[in-house]
Each structure stands twice: as structure tokens, then as C-alpha cells.
Symmetry: C2
Subunit: 311 residues, 2 copies
């Protein structure tokens, strides 16, 4: 919404024009870029390459981190599918506005030819739901202080947005922007990871605890969100030419080192992440006159960088 | 995430297979389509054509309802701009992933030629902020029961998502998906409606009370959200060819009747809207095993229909 980048200049003018105490009061909140620039190397986590899916679309690269702490059976099945090159030549088949982008086997669509379904090979065709799991006290847990409409407690574990219910002792991954879920039919055990979706709009938290979440997009969200919306029911494309081709999906561990472009994720139990949360909650600068004083779980995008960009 | 549309069939089978009392307990929540099909004509509101902006893009039509109950000076200025055909030939200049799509005069961009700025004519170049307003007891108010991370109270007034703070006596429009805000520079009185943005991702509620909201997109969101993301800082396009042309922006009141395609918005103080809220909070059917029991302000898309589709 900003037309010109006047923040730094205006903030400086303001600081110069006021006495020291006033300047202190209106000291602008540091930006995310400024906070990340002072982060320590050990505040960044390098995801296990066995948990990184590298999807090459016709339009570019999408990298997804699997979440075996929450959905281990789904992670294992998706790894099996990737190792078999199951996804190669499949496509993005559905883009529903303010909801999800979904990819998989076009033959599984309503109008698809079921005799042409690609076999799953050594992967399982059904899996236990893994929609929630018992709260694991060994997992790092960074609670958020401002509440949540949908769950008693929310926070982050190892870079993933998590909701918790102490009464039931359960926790689950939350359907925030960029989270990757497992498509299924009506039965709870009909998902297997061969059809995946990414959230591209307002977090559909009503899906929480009703679907397994496999992971999170670390890189390439615009390639999934910036697509023409599907013209069929639920955003399915009605013509094959509208689909985006998946050239390949590989585990990063299987790629030659030169193709891995290793990514790092800011640790959500790090001081810099805490400072980012604080800055987001209390942002006050030349543009923001009113600080929200709060932040919601799905309003936080956990920072990712390429290892090569680390100082 | 659903691969096939089995809900109706499965629900029927389940109802037939179980005794009456069990069938009653698992009666599927009505869908929005089913609830709207039984709505009464007077539950729909026809927006004043003086409040409808019809934006013809090279790719199709976007219709925006202005919100003069909340931002009357901005509505008046935008009407003045539209009557002057100010927007004709301007463009969508910025698409920032999970944030906003913004349109206006390309010459106002960082790298634009300021000598080529289009004059605002009879429109004001600055306006009072109108970020909040005193709570108006005469406005219809449909409160939501499940709380909000950012504001003490949230609900709907005349189809718009609203946040309230009884302590300060103020209310304001919330930055939900599809809401249209007024771009500005750092100063609070630098917005005038010549540059507008629509929210295309997770609701950036931190912007609430920091920017004026002019209205809401009633039709055509996919034309704003499904665009390639900008490659420059903050999602600005760096090359003119990436922009989407605005062929024209007109007030519906100025269009010939045949071009108006009048829209109706479900009244947010109607029984059918209340039923929709209830269904959303307690959704339970063949697909949803766990009902959220809650709903957030920005998770509700107020229904819109073309008058011609009214029964």
C-alpha cells in the first residue's frame, strides 16, 4: 500500500527533530530484514534432505519440508512415491480461489479415466489419518501469547504452526498459508499422499483435525498461488491445457549436491524468532501509527534462506 | 482436497443404514448452497449503484462495493475519480504474494516518471484518514460469538467485516480477504483513493486502523488474486509488460442498464446469514468428522449473487 519507500528517510528526520526522550519513544520497530541480519548461525536449522521434497514445475521450483514429527506415516509414503518418481508428469489439477492449489494424478479427477490411474507401486494406498497426535513434551514449543479463535493454545514446533488442546492432550499442525495437506476422499483412511494441496488463501482452520498435513512450502509459493483459478466445480480445471505440468518431484537427498540449493529455516525456538514475533506484535514506525499489540498464528511466516546467502 | 463428490451419496447410505435416532445425530450440516436456495427475497440487499465500482480489466470484470458508512470522504473522492474516468488506462502495478494486489498510476511507482503523473482533476489529493469511526448504534450489527485475536469484538455491518473496541467507542473495517484499501505514503493524510489495493492472502489485520478501507470486492477476486507475483521489492512489477491494463472504472450508476449486471449481497442481519454462520461453526458431514465449533471474522465470505440468478 506504500507508494514510495520513505520510511528510513522520514524516521531519520523525525529522530533529528525531536529531543532525545521523544526520539526514544518513537524509535521505529526493527524490520524483519534488520533482525535477520543480526541472527547467529546456530539460530538457523538445516532441514534433513530426507524431509525436503523438490518439485520442478514447468514454471519453476517448489520446495516442501515434510513434517514427520506430526505425520510420520504420510512422510514415509510420500518419500516412497517420490523415490519411484510417481509424481513426474502429473500436474496441478485444481486452484480454488482463497482456498487451495492441488496436484496429483489427473485421472483421479471426477471426470478422469480411472483405468488410467497411475499405480502407487510400493506406496500404501491407505494410511491411518494422523490428523492429531499426543502432545510431545520433547518437541520444541514456542507458544504465542495472543490466543486463537480455533484452539486453546497455538505456537510453533520446529518451524511449523501448531495448535494444542491440553484438555485432550492432543496437538496438530494448523492449516496456515503455505501448509501442504493430504487430499482424501470421504473416508478418513483414503489419503495416501499421492494427491497434495497447498493453502493459498485465508487459513482454512476448519480443516484442522480433519485432514493430515504433510508439511510446509519453504520456497516457491508464488508458483502455486499465482495461478489462474480453475473454472470447474471446486476450482478443478476443466481442460488439460489449463494444468501446470509437474516435471519431477525428488527428495533433496537424492539430488546431486549442485541441484540441492540447501535451505535453512529460522529456528522457532531462537531469540531472533522471539524478536521477530515481538516486532510483529508491536510494530510502530513512520507508516504504522497504531500497533496491533497482537499476532495470530497464521500471520507469521517463518523465515527461510538459502545456505549460500548466509553470512 | 476432496477427490470425488461422494458426500450426498454417502450421507444417504448412512441415513438408510442406521436407526432413526442415530441418523438424526449424524444429519449432515446443510451446505451454503442448500441454505441459500431457501433464502427469502428480502434477505438480499441490492447495493446502491452509486456505491458500486465496475472495473474492466483486460482480463475481465471486477465489482467493488464502496463503504461510505465507514469511509464517506474516500467513497466520495473515488466516485469523483471514477466520474472523471481517472482510472482508464492505468494498471495493476503490484502483486505481493500472500498480501495485496494494487492498482493505480504506474508513474507513482518508485521508478515512475513523476512528471507524467495523471492529474486528479476535481478530486482531493489528500483526505482525513477515516481509519476508525465512532460506533454507530444505527448501523446493523451482527456480532460473532467466537472472539478474535486482534479486536475485543468483531462482526458484520451491512455486509462488511467490522472490528470494534467498546472501550474506545471506535469501530473499523477489517482487512479480510477481498477488502479494498486505500494506498498512501507515510503521512496519514496522503491517501486519496487514486491508488487502491485488494487483500489476496491471509488477512493482514496489522493494517487495521492504519489505513482507510474503501470497500469490498463483490465479483472478480480471481482476476486480482490469480496473477503472477511481482518480481520487484514489495511485489511491484519491474517491467510495464507485466502489468494488467485497467480498461475503465465506472460507477454502476453511470453504466447503461444492460451493462450493470446488478448484484445482490446477502443481508448480514438476515436469518439465512445466521444459519450460514451456524453451519460454518458446526459443520459435520461425511467429510468433516471434527467440527471446529468456531469461526473467525475473515473466514466468512458474505454471499453475492447476480439479480438475474434470483429465483
Amino acid at each position: 500500500m506504500r507508494r514510495r519507500h520513505l520510511i528510513a528517510a522520514l524516521a531519520l528526520i523525525t529522530l533529528l527533530a525531536l529531543p532525545a526522550i521523544a526520539a526514544e519513544q518513537i524509535k521505529p520497530t526493527p524490520t524483519a530484514k534488520e533482525l535477520l541480519a543480526t541472527s547467529a548461525p546456530d539460530e538457523w536449522r538445516t532441514p534433513d534432505p530426507q524431509n525436503l521434497l523438490v518439485m520442478q514445475l514447468a514454471t519453476g521450483r517448489v520446495v516442501i519440508e515434510l513434517a514427520p514429527d506430526f505425520t510420520p506415516l504420510h512422510a514415509a509414503n510420500i518419500r516412497t512415491l517420490a523415490r519411484q518418481h510417481y509424481f513426474d508428469g502429473l500436474a496441478i489439477v485444481r486452484v480454488q480461489d482463497n482456498f487451495v492449489t492441488q496436484w496429483g494424478d489427473p485421472a483421479s479427477d471426477d471426470n478422469g479415466d480411472k483405468t488410467k490411474l497411475r499405480p502407487l507401486g510400493k506406496a500404501s494406498s491407505t494410511l491411518p489419518p494422523e490428523y492429531t497426535r499426543p502432545i510431545d513434551p520433547k518437541l520444541a514449543w514456542t507458544p504465542l501469547p495472543d490466543g486463537d479463535v480455533y484452539a486453546p493454545e497455538v505456537g510453533f514446533s520446529n518451524g511449523f504452526p501448531v495448535a494444542r488442546d491440553p484438555a485432550s492432550g492432543q496437538e496438530w499442525l494448523a492449516h496456515c498459508y503455505g501448509m501442504v495437506g493430504v487430499g482424501r476422499d470421504n473416508g478418513p483412511e483414503t489419503g495416501n499422499g499421492s494427491e497434495l494441496y497447498a493453502v493459498i488463501g485465508q487459513a482454512p482452520r476448519r480443516l484442522d483435525r480433519n485432514l493430515a498435513i504433510a508439511g510446509r512450502v519453504l520456497e516457491g509459493m508464488p508458483l502455486l498461488s499465482g495461478l489462474p483459478r480453475g473454472d470447474g466445480p471446486m476450482g478443478f480445471y476443466t481442460r488439460p491445457a489449463q494444468r501446470t505440468l509437474i516435471k519431477s518431484v525428488r527428495l533433496a537427498a537424492e539430488l546431486p549436491a549442485a541441484q540441492q540449493h540447501p535451505l535453512q529455516v529460522l529456528r522457532t525456538d531462537s531469540p531472533t524468532f522471539a524478536a521477530l514475533l515481538d516486532a510483529k506484535r508491536h510494530r510502530h514506525d513512520a507508516f504504522y501509527a497504531v500497533s496491533a499489540g497482537k499476532v495470530g498464528l497464521c500471520d507469521i511466516d517463518v523465515p527461510v534462506r538459502e545456505t549460500s546467502s548466509a553470512p
